[in-house]
Amino acid sequence: MNAAGFPILSLVTFLPLAGALVIMLVRGEDEVVARNARWTALWASLITLALSLLLWTGFDQTTAEFQFVEQAAWLPEFGVGYHMGVDGISVLFILLSTILTPLCILASWESVTTRVREYMVAFLVLESMMIGMFAALDFVLFYIFFEAVLIPMFLIIGIWGGGRRVYAALKFFLYTLAGSLLMLLAILAVWYEAGTTDIPTLMQTAFSPRMQFWLFLAFFASFAVKVPMWPVHTWLPDAHVEAPTAGSVILAGVLLKMGAYGFLRFSLPLLPQASADFAPLIFALSIIAVIYTSLVALAQEDMKKLIAYSSIAHMGIVTLGIFTFTAQGLSGALFTMLSHGVVSGALFLCVGVLYDRVHSREIARYGGVAKIMPAYALVFMVFTMASVALPGLAGFPGELLVIVGAFKVNPWVALGACMGMILGAAYALYLYRRVIFGKIVREDLKALLDLSPREYATFAPLILLTIWMGVYPSSFLNFFEATVAALVARHEAALGAARLAGM
């Protein structure tokens, strides 16, 4: 079985789904149903979180092997099986998903008042699919979870979103679907070539350089949209702005990581030659993303849009780190993904706090908030500084490692990443100054209440994590050290073999 002695990954994956089923069965008055739905969703996600902590404690950090593996026959004649397992790359993303979901449910406690039951069902289904995606060790299984995420997210944006929600939801869905279908073709080609879709088996399979080229392009189409990389990022600002607060949190916190996770899980190990060949292109796109979107962020009038653009810039750093193929770059990319998941999620929650009170996301609408909401100003500051990558907070270790990794490959690439940090500081501080400091120009702002106990409860774990990740990053870095080392070693071995074959 596995270290835990029972199918823990399946439990963690499908427990939220069971919660969703319970909520769907609740009948009665709207008010009662809404209250039941909220509490059931919260408990379901909290129990999932508690269970997933067993992954944290039971994970063996010294090996790059897949752990907590579960296998069952599913479509045996195709070589497709139900295969779940985690390694250093995926285990922390499962934890990230299970931590963010209860916080999202808490954050939507009062702000979502219509169709509460459907909302909670959508969120639990979403959680289930996200966890399944990170735990899947079969390509077809992965694809199913990867795509299934679209359905609840589409509904969350479309039903509970802002003014242009329909446009944003459709754009989000069709953009990602177009990319994903190309990946499906690639998966089928892999299936045909190797006769299996089992990921650990595929990692031992060598594909011809020509095939690698096409497969890489197909995967790239899917993952680049998900990351999102410049120039296919345009769905993200729309989706972020229109989504309800909790939707933005999950979108920034987990969904964006799916693309980068795909690069790490598939492109790098399966297609080493093509990854190396395409690395300059990825560097170029990443650096353009970092600088361009940072500049765009500076010009934004809408708080959510600004944070959305900052997400694209941060994800540019991540893709840059991944394609350095160095231990530092990869560790840094993984760490940045985690820290960005926590910090950008928290920033969206911060915006949500103001939006719930004033119902505006316009930066010019605010000013002087520090005088009325001092506790809020402090919380917002912690996350802004973490986003800027202030040493001692979550953002710093990851970006530093990426820059170190990039420097090994090419100093100019490292310079591009550094530019991102500088510009990041500019737009984040500019945002903070305009919203929090200055004079109160609008009378209605004076009546604002500071954070409620529920909001404290939402932010407390995120602040704790942000400081923990900044002060003692090793407790996270240790998780993926062995896996990253194995990944780099295998990559170099594969390239070495290809070079020998080429001679």
Binding site: Y143, A148, F154, G158, L181, L185
Partner: protein, 475 residues
């Protein structure tokens, strides 16, 4: 010369006799017998299905009729579709004033025709089955005879259908003239030699044209939108499901069996039909406001995907087609159950916008409709995804990259209009709630919806059954 061996065809014989008895029983009473006759028809379908499952293998009627795993698979599917089709009509026909018992009896005869089609082992029995089906369909398309649109649909279908039958017959006679037989087994022997005459290929193309009309593949699709829109909704539901399965099954048997050695010739024809259907189904549906018309284009698109598997001309491709059609049929019946239930203040509704806001007023129906739409769009983990997966797999395996690429592109476009329906239901605010729907529709929606959602749990048995079925015809 194979013997008469007529007991092999017991299911068809029983169904045919049941039809005659039910017809007699329906005529005699003074008052309208729509409901009891419908129930009797469903009973006859169930009985036939049981007989089909227990049916032996072999040929009968001097080689005109064949029973094998393939015919059993297709027949069970057809009977299921037909029985659910009758259920969909129960309440609707009463309310539309077309609750006459002949309706159910005609469905029964149409179904008998379909069973004969999938068991046809000769161009003659093929034609008899096809015509029995078609004549019944012409009548029920025009069943709402006082409604000009329904009458128009029936007439249009009849005229174009007669043309298609003519093409089919002409093709059959050419095949007979050049190969010397109409029997599938002897055709296969005759064509196995490797020499193919041009006349034979022309005959094959004519036969294909006749069959493509029945499955409404481009370029023989013109009747579909008008007939779908004009016919009463339960009739449209029936058109879109069981006869499509029967015609595709027949097409597969004809192509894989007697003309299996001409794959290089017919594969190109099917390739064109597949690409054309996928493109038309995706793009023409975008602008549709009438949901029945939209479903017509959607069904053309789905036939395009199914034909992709046929064009590949491999066992895996054909198996993919069977799986695809099974899933398509279940999802379509569910979708049409929703369309049949669209009724406000007693008036049947047909516009996409009439669904506005039902996410709020009728959450259960909206949820099932969303499930069907996402499934038709091929989003995992719903059943429709697996259908696409199997045909795409076949295309990739056969190296048909253009087909696969067109399939991908049109999937994205088609997803747009499926999503539009979800959008209308959930994102738009509606006016008044729809009328309460009869329990029968709720059951059909729920059953097909659950099958669509949970298909991923148990795909293996259906795929194994399809595999056995394909071995029977292509083996």
């Amino acid at each position: 010369m194979s013997p008469m061996n007529w007991t092999l065809a017991t299911p068809e014989i029983v169904l045919g006799i049941a039809g005659l008895l039910i017809l007699a029983a329906g005529v005699i009473p003074k008052k309208e017998t729509f409901f009891p006759v419908s129930m009797a028809v469903i009973g006859a379908f169930v009985l036939t299905a049981v007989l089909v499952i227990g049916q032996g293998e072999g040929t009968a009627f001097l080689g005109q009729y064949v029973s094998d795993a393939f015919s059993r698979f297709a027949k069970v599917l057809i009977l299921l579709g037909a029985a659910l089709g009758v259920v969909l009509s129960l309440d609707f026909n009463e309310k539309a004033g077309i609750g006459r018992f002949e309706y159910a009896v005609l469905m029964l005869f149409a179904t008998t025709g379909m069973l004969v089609m999938v068991s046809a082992n000769d161009l003659m029995s093929l034609y008899i089955g096809l015509e029995l089906l078609s004549l019944s369909l012409y009548v029920i398309a025009a069943f709402d005879r006082d409604n000009p649109r329904s009458a128009e649909a029936g007439l249009k279908y009849f005229v174009l259908g007669a043309l298609a039958s003519g093409l089919l017959l002409y093709g059959s006679s050419l095949v007979y003239g050049f190969a010397g037989s109409t029997n599938f087994d002897r055709l296969a022997d005759a064509l196995g030699g490797g020499t193919t005459s041009l006349g034979l290929v022309v005959g094959l193309v004519f036969v294909l044209a006749g069959l493509c009309f029945k499955i409404s593949a481009v370029p023989f699709h013109m009747w579909t939108p008008d007939v779908y829109e004009g016919a009463p909704t339960p009739v449209t539901a029936f058109f879109a499901t069981a006869p499509k399965v029967a015609a595709i099954a027949l097409l597969m048997r004809v192509l894989a069996g007697p003309f299996g050695d001409l794959a290089a010739q017919w594969s190109q024809v099917i390739w064109v039909a597949s690409v054309g259907s996928m493109l038309l189904g995706a793009f023409a549906a975008i602008g549709q406001r009438n949901i029945k018309r939209l479903m017509a284009y959607s069904s053309i698109g789905h036939i395009g995907y199914a034909l992709m598997g046929v064009a590949v001309a491999s066992d895996i491709g054909l198996r993919g087609v069977l799986v695809y059609m099974a899933i398509y049929m279940v999802t379509s019946i569910g979708t049409f159950a929703v369309l049949v239930a669209m009724r406000r203040n007693g008036r049947a509704l047909e516009e996409v916008d009439d669904l506005a806001g039902i996410g709020r007023t009728d959450p259960a129906m909206a949820m099932w409709m969303a499930v069907f739409m996402f499934s038709m769009a091929g989003i995992p983990p719903l059943a429709g995804f697996f259908g696409k997966l199997y045909v795409f797999l076949a295309a990739v395996q056969g190296g048909y990259w253009v087909l696969a690429a067109v399939g991908i592109g049109t999937s994205v476009v088609a997803t747009y209009y499926y999503l539009r329906i979800v959008k209308v239901m959930y994102f738009d605010t509606g006016t008044a709630p729809l009328d309460a729907r009869p329990a029968g529709l709720t059951v059909v929606m729920g059953a097909t919806g659950i099958a669509t959602v949970l298909f991923f749990l148990f795909p293996a048995p259906i795929i194994a059954a399809a595999e056995v079925a394909i071995t029977a015809i292509a083996g």
